[in-house]
Symmetry: D2
Subunit: 342 residues, 4 copies
Amino acid sequence: MTLFINDYSEGCHESILEALTKTNREQTAGYGFDPYCEEARELIRREIGCPEADVWFLSGGTQTNLIAAAAALRPHEAVMGAETCHLFVHETGAIEATGHKVLVIPDPEGKVRPEGVLQVLREHAAAPHMVKPRMVYISQSTEVGTVYTKAELQALHRVCREHDLLLYLDGARLGAALAAPGNDATLQDVAECCDFFYIGGTKNGAMMGEAMVILNPELKRDFLYIVKQRGGLFAKGRLLGLQFSTLFREGLYYRLARHANVQAMRIREGFAALGVRFLVDSPTNQQFILLNEQQAAALQARFGVDEQWRKDGDVCLRVCTSWATEPAAVDELLAAMRQIMA
Amino acid sequence: MTLFINDYSEGCHESILEALTKTNREQTAGYGFDPYCEEARELIRREIGCPEADVWFLSGGTQTNLIAAAAALRPHEAVMGAETCHLFVHETGAIEATGHKVLVIPDPEGKVRPEGVLQVLREHAAAPHMVKPRMVYISQSTEVGTVYTKAELQALHRVCREHDLLLYLDGARLGAALAAPGNDATLQDVAECCDFFYIGGTKNGAMMGEAMVILNPELKRDFLYIVKQRGGLFAKGRLLGLQFSTLFREGLYYRLARHANVQAMRIREGFAALGVRFLVDSPTNQQFILLNEQQAAALQARFGVDEQWRKDGDVCLRVCTSWATEPAAVDELLAAMRQIMA
Amino acid sequence: MTLFINDYSEGCHESILEALTKTNREQTAGYGFDPYCEEARELIRREIGCPEADVWFLSGGTQTNLIAAAAALRPHEAVMGAETCHLFVHETGAIEATGHKVLVIPDPEGKVRPEGVLQVLREHAAAPHMVKPRMVYISQSTEVGTVYTKAELQALHRVCREHDLLLYLDGARLGAALAAPGNDATLQDVAECCDFFYIGGTKNGAMMGEAMVILNPELKRDFLYIVKQRGGLFAKGRLLGLQFSTLFREGLYYRLARHANVQAMRIREGFAALGVRFLVDSPTNQQFILLNEQQAAALQARFGVDEQWRKDGDVCLRVCTSWATEPAAVDELLAAMRQIMA
Amino acid sequence: MTLFINDYSEGCHESILEALTKTNREQTAGYGFDPYCEEARELIRREIGCPEADVWFLSGGTQTNLIAAAAALRPHEAVMGAETCHLFVHETGAIEATGHKVLVIPDPEGKVRPEGVLQVLREHAAAPHMVKPRMVYISQSTEVGTVYTKAELQALHRVCREHDLLLYLDGARLGAALAAPGNDATLQDVAECCDFFYIGGTKNGAMMGEAMVILNPELKRDFLYIVKQRGGLFAKGRLLGLQFSTLFREGLYYRLARHANVQAMRIREGFAALGVRFLVDSPTNQQFILLNEQQAAALQARFGVDEQWRKDGDVCLRVCTSWATEPAAVDELLAAMRQIMA
């Protein structure tokens, strides 16, 4: 049964395996102080046009997010994010276990907007009886597949500057956003708007790995201590560096994301033509569809797709493509849906 | 200017000062292992009809709540409570700083109800990606002045038992609830329904002090280690014990709370007769009133009352009485409001 | 049986009870924003000659220490202190529960010395695999009763400045040190050498209360948030302010400490004349004596004294006087020891 | 320059790369719920003769240790270990950042012994003012290369049972211990003596990966929540499972460790014959040698070896072999040392 449950069901792009194999018996320093990490850092710095950025390689999103909070926040400082955001919903309270409250803002498109930020600030003015909002957490693409425009990122950047807030972007699916049809925010724009952010590898063709990029000089200090203390310092750090150098040397990162998006757009258009409703308008590799219970059951009997919730007769399913999705599998999915909707 | 801003604006009931003065030069063991703490424990155990209960004396509500969480929960376990609850809103993220997420349930009367508990459980079923709800936090009286009935407490007790949840009651204003007109839940009922709870002294005539009562045997183990570790172990513990023995020896705890409630009922009835609207129907010492901006400003010019929020022209003010509120001060307040509303 | 087990066996100096009684029914703002706290702050600022100092009132030593660590340190930063120090030995891992390692230095007099600090720095150079030493914790007087000289405090101040370390002084028994025969370090000297420190009330005649004094401007920011978050923000803060204004208005703090020391010196001299050995040479209210098992048992049968350890036939007992120790009780103790040693 | 600085300077054994390549495009469930993890679990359970064991795959030692502490301990419970142990010295306070104190025991061979455990218990009896020792942490092989015998493990097991302590073994270099000449403790013995332990992959030929094995039923409950919360839940969990199934399917794990040990024994014997002194007698892949400063400098000029410390003219160097160490490189090292010592 073909799985459309997520974008990490397969291994990794073959060029990564080749790079690992080719360099396998070389001896290098550990913990990311090797030439492959250095090359990956340089490629990323060039990509974002920021030679001063610090770049560190970590192995997963929850780990990266909790390290970001531990490194950036004092104990009474809180994170704010969209009500649907991964850090709030799906990380088993990792931020709270690191000692920080997460304040959430409802939004139909899963985005944080300047008005929401200001509202949270107004509601947390009763110092010292309330936490102090300090870090704005956004996901690009979001958990419902939407993408912040360049103007939206800049507006968040401004409101953060005005209110001494840090802007942090979770780029677990940053590739999907960068390669989305209509997207106008480049990696360089992301770097200009954020204090720190990460470029996700795990969900875009790496075995594992997230590249944390730190722009704000204050956040650079002693960052690696925090990485080590939280168990995120990879002994064989070069394994992460090699993956990112492979992904960024010749644009592979973008090509893989584009592939996933293209397959998702085929699904979106095909489903829409059949009358399937969508939760939101997503230009990326995650499509959230609404079916009735019978239709949902029929689809789930033939393909791996994840149920998100059911309410008032509607079942919301996530159909997720990846860098490795076979076009033929999408053909089959479309054919199956045609039968179901008939 | 007379303050109606809270129930801890004054010192303490004079009989407490007398007890402290009378025993002042006695030498006793520290940390609560003295005869006065022992007497207070026995009085409380008798009051709740539970000779096996553990009773420990702490010095403030936030401290007591965070110690409760630290003692009762494993790292991935979460607290749930009403959206307006003190632990979520007004304790500067103390629970999160202790490592635990707080999951909230909206309710117009500031209560947790069994359906809300079940809803939270349903929404957090995606183990291990979500926290595990484990402790239900309720306040009696609530932050908006309402009181759980005996049937409501029993229903929460049942739903907690059925789903392996701990029921914890914050009794910062337990006196106000016990002495409220129409209340049918005794201290014994509270003890029968809860795994642990605390009896608040600070807001009912003590200098400071909260009595943590532990019924669930599993929660008793090593509790005092946690108290010490979180900075809650009073060196001169007898000062807390003496206050609770004074409060419970001859019913002073109830008399003081009744006084505060009686003055609050005078305000409620007087204000209602003048057409003042109320946020909720509160039978206790906190009354939340809705005025227009002009009326609110006029009232605040003459009395200390706390603004809660303003919205669509309405200003919500809290008028709070205490064990020490002078009836004459209430007369003045009523007279002033008569002028304002005229 | 008379207790010499500690300096918090009695209540508080009567003038404190009088001040509390006199102001009891007054209404004031909560949380330390009242005129009595303000007066106490001013008195302390004048005493240390530092009008810019921040002063906050807390209710116990462990609480104060853990709040200091939470406010001052990033997660990877560690505290260093003497191997015998309270924070390491007798606070149930409060600093570690706040997330920080404590690095200890052995010393026969219970002191931290510049060489020890440098040694710890040398041993923790392997960044990022080791914690980063950041805060030096000292107790004045120390846990074995000794007192840092002015020159010793200045030397620690210098080594801390040179290595970007914070110097924090636990003044649970600061009164005993200031009033010790031979002491040359004033409260002003303490303030000049430390980044922050606290003046202990609990062990010098207050009911409870410690005054945290913050000199380093960087440590002032948002301090009260941390106090609230850790459960240390007293609702009726004026109770703490009133005690410190009483203690510092006319030198009561020093007189009480001198009384305790004078009684301790009587014990020291009397015991020494009888041939009793001492663990260290202490000029303060804690005397650590070495007896054989029989002698120790005989003493403990007649007075409350605390056993510290036993080794190779020696039993180490602590004899502790307080602001309330009756000279007649010391007479009895000396007489008893004369019999025992005979 | 050939590196003898550690056992993770190279990639991984080629059969792991082959297994990853072969299965690369397969789709599987995430988070360790895939057939490769299942196979690896079964192989490990068979190896230890314990079909009931829980086995989870994590990606690094510090991560595994802090998750173990978070899962097993209440806040006031402490870990004890050898003074030289990795968890205490080289994990940037990860255990303390998780909230727990580490109590250490000096030992020339880097081992915890029953007498040491009992001593720590005696010294921490002052409840509730001290932490409660609860978990004994040992490394096999130790940080100085020594190996616990079966009798030593059993003795620790007994003392832990008698005093309600948990025994946890850090097996970062468990392969080296199992394959050491003279070793009499099998993997099955380890499983019989410990409450939980991990089998290290990173330092024995895996890319990365540690297999946590839980024997004590109480420790199994909700373990994966903790893994997720601390950022240790690998999305593509199968990558870890595949490595362990490769390592354990046909004894590769033992063969790789034996290779490293054989090369280390060649160094040990060769060096000893040249009069080089050793810190301890290590039968495993880490050899700690003592040279004078000139000799040390000469060796470090030609090979990568890590300096541990220098004292009184002695320099202590660690010479570390791995699964990938070339015999020819050892020949060169021996030749070089012959010249240096001549």
